[in-house]
């Protein structure tokens, strides 16, 4: 029996029990739809990250305290006290490929203005941090070397903090409280929006690192160094030089783990991308469990169908159907079910990610690859889970099947 015939037969058998067919397909529909939606959202996130890297330039070099193992696991940078201002000055002095550097000391704290209350990160740094990140004050100004030297209680607000604490009032010149200390607001930064990792970059207060070290954190070391290489091409070589310098300064013996981490901007971005991809894969595989469940549903219904149609099968065999044609008939029926579910699932997934993209203003990328993969997977599920019932049908004995009540 030809393929066209078998397909027609399958479609008719499925059309006969529309509700049942639809319910059977539901698992596949949900599975395929969810896989396509999650993958498209994940791809959108990755696209955002890549875009972020390009806008940030690729000559940035990050040095942080704490080691990073090859697996990418960062060992508590908060606890490691090894990175100091002397390290930073040594880098600036002895690594010619590093053009600039700014320290970073970070603490979370409660911030109060009158009866407005906000929790944010306080980042201590030096004045050159702002030009490195091409970040300027919208109103007022950023602090200078003099405020750093004197560990002055001055604060530069990110726009989110300014908005929450002051609600339209001009913050410049006002006094806020960080923890228990009064700080004078000397400037408000222009808005930077979300970072590549999806955090709000404007939810921050900058202060001289000396102030944060001594008055807020009570420490003498620094946590990060934001450096920049002389050119994007030089950044990889710069990382190597910084590493060997710091190994020497920290007396890390050959073969020993470093107590610091040096990365280029693109390392960071790659890490972010890899993390994002892992996340997407994880979500995708959770979604594909639904495909598996859908497959089991198909198997169940096909087994029921074989039992119900025992006499029909017997008759078909009696008039000349071979085992192979009976098997194909049921296999094609199962694959038709799963493929139809797959197609509806693709439509649902595409529509779903379009809805997410317009509702959450989040870019989604639907790749032909993921659609093809979903369709192939759906067909595969049909074949895999349809095979056993089809085999059962084909192995019926025609005489017994005809006698079946």
């Amino acid at each position: 029996m030809g393929f066209a015939n078998t397909l027609r037969l399958a479609l008719r058998a499925l059309a006969r029990n529309k509700m049942r067919s639809l319910l059977t397909m539901l698992g596949i529909i949900i599975g395929v739809g969810a896989v396509i939606a999650t993958v498209s959202i994940g791809s959108g996130a990755e696209y955002l990250i890549q875009q972020g890297i390009q806008s940030m330039g690729t000559n940035a070099v990050f040095i942080s305290s704490g080691s990073s193992r090859p697996g990418g696991l960062r060992m508590g940078s908060w606890a490691v006290k090894t990175l100091t201002m002397d390290d930073m000055n040594a880098v600036l002095r002895e690594v010619p490929l590093i053009k600039e550097a700014a320290p970073m000391v970070v603490r979370r704290s409660q911030v109060v203005y009158q009866n407005a209350n906000w929790s944010t990160t306080i980042q201590g740094t030096t004045p050159n941090y702002f030009p490195i990140r091409t970040w300027a004050a919208n109103s007022g100004a950023t602090f200078g070397d003099q405020e750093v030297d004197s560990a002055a209680n001055v604060a530069v607000l990110g726009s989110t903090v300014a908005q929450y604490l002051f609600a339209g009032e001009d913050p410049v010149g006002k006094t806020i409280r960080i923890g228990t200390l009064p700080f004078q607001v000397i400037g408000v930064l222009e808005s930077k929006g979300q970072s590549v990792m999806g955090t709000d970059q404007d939810d921050v207060i900058f202060a001289p690192y000396t102030t944060v070290q001594r008055k807020i954190a009570g420490i003498t070391w620094i946590q990060f160094i934001n450096a920049s290489a002389v050119s994007p091409e030089a950044s990889v070589a710069a990382v190597a030089q910084v590493r060997s310098l710091l190994r020497e300064r920290h007396r890390v013996r050959p073969g020993e783990d470093e107590d610091f981490t040096v990365r280029t901007q693109s390392d960071v971005a790659d890490l972010a991308s890899a993390t994002q991809r892992l996340m997407t894969m994880l979500l995708g595989s959770v979604a594909s469990v639904s495909l598996l469940v859908g497959g089991i549903g198909i198997m169940n219904i096909m087994l029921v169908s074989v039992t119900e149609r025992t006499r029909e099968i017997g008759l078909r065999m009696a008039v000349g159907a071979t085992e192979a044609s009976v098997k194909n008939q049921f296999l094609i029926e199962a694959v038709t079910l799963s493929m139809a579910g797959g197609l509806i699932g693709i439509v649902a997934g595409v529509a779903g990610s379009a809805a997410i993209s317009s509702l959450l203003a989040w870019p989604t990328l639907i790749s032909a690859k993921s659609i093809l993969a979903a369709a192939a997977f759906a067909a595969g599920v049909g074949v895999f889970f349809g095979y056993y019932p089809a085999l059962k049908a084909a192995q019926l004995d025609p005489i017994e099947a005809l006698r079946y009540e």
């Binding site: 029996m1 030809g2 015939n5 006969r16 029990n17 119900e308 149609r309 006499r311 029909e312 017997g314 008759l315 078909r316 065999m317 009696a318 008039v319 000349g320 159907a321 071979t322 085992e323 192979a324 044609s325 025609p398 005489i399 005809l402 009540e405």
Partner: protein, 305 residues
């Protein structure tokens, strides 16, 4: 079937002889039709069984359904297989119909030994060489008469137009040309059995096997069905083997084989053969009887879903 409506017309032997002579003979030289019963060995047998055994195993016990059956059936014969319940008639028919394989012995179908055929090969024989008619009609419900009849042609791989053409011809042959689009539930029992016969004929087999084809039908309808079988046998030279419990039905055949305990006990030519075309006009029609068709509802396929 209490009163026998056939009494007034025991067909005269002369009439039978006349008909037999005018019957087109399929195999040249085969005189089986003219001389029913055990035939001379020079004739070409369409069906030849030699020492056929069929044993069923039910756990520890063995059921000897057929114990050494040897017989020959020639082209153009019309054989009625009789015997009490459990005598092995259906077992025999299933083997003849290539639905089952013998445990021991030989089955020659048109001189070809088929006992050793594979399942796929047997399916091919069922499709092309043999038409099978069941007691339970076994039509696919929710499928038109035409499509039911077409079914074997689908497995024969015929092109679509040819399929429909043959199915319509087949339906015309059993007098149901005007019911092609009807579904089984819209047909009487007799009509359903005629659709089933049309299905058995559609691939133009040389043999039609029928296991109690009239078992679910009332007496008049049974005679109508026998009329069709006789026409197929006489006008188209198709070899017919049918199982029946009723002597009156067997009287329409040319030869009767009687089975008991898995063996053929009697093999005789029919004397006083009946002709349905002559009997039918003498039978009361439905209107005359003024009562319902007593066709028993038969389970058709797929009704349960």
């Amino acid at each position: 079937m209490t009163e026998n409506p056939l009494n007034p017309l025991k067909a005269p032997v002369a009439a039978e002889a006349a008909r037999a002579d005018s019957r087109p003979v399929k195999t040249p030289g085969a005189l089986a039709g003219a001389a029913p019963g055990p035939a001379s060995s020079v004739d070409k047998a369409v069906i030849r069984l030699e020492g056929l055994h069929k044993t069923y195993h039910l756990g520890e016990t063995e059921v000897f359904a057929l114990r050494g059956v040897s017989l020959e059936i020639f082209a153009g014969e019309f054989v009625a297989v009789m015997g009490s319940s459990g005598s092995g008639k259906s077992t025999l028919m299933n083997i003849l119909g290539c639905l089952d394989k013998p445990t021991r012995g030989h089955y020659f179908l048109e001189d070809v030994e088929v006992s050793g055929y594979s399942k796929a090969q047997l399916a091919g024989l069922r499709n092309r060489k043999i038409g099978f008619v069941f007691q339970q009609f076994n039509l696919l419900s929710r499928t038109s008469a035409l499509e039911n009849v077409e079914l074997p042609t689908v497995y024969a791989g015929l092109p679509v137009e040819e399929r429909e053409k043959r199915a319509r011809e087949s339906l015309a042959l059993v007098g149901l040309a005007d019911r092609a689009e009807h579904h089984p539930s819209q047909l009487s029992g007799g009509q359903q059995q005629r659709v089933a016969i049309a299905r058995a004929l559609v691939n133009r087999p040389s043999i039609v096997l029928a296991d109690e084809p009239t078992g679910n039908l009332d007496s008049r309808t049974s005679v109508e069905i026998m009329d069709i079988f006789q026409k197929l046998n006489t006008d188209h030279g198709i070899t017919v083997v049918l199982v029946t419990h009723e002597q009156d039905i067997a009287q329409y055949a040319k030869r009767i084989m009687e089975f008991r305990d898995g063996r053929m006990r009697r093999d005789v030519a029919v004397t006083g053969r009946l002709f349905a075309s002559e009997v039918l006009p003498t039978l009361p029609t439905l209107e005359e009887e003024n009562k319902e068709d007593n066709v028993q509802a038969s389970p058709n396929l797929g009704n349960r879903s």
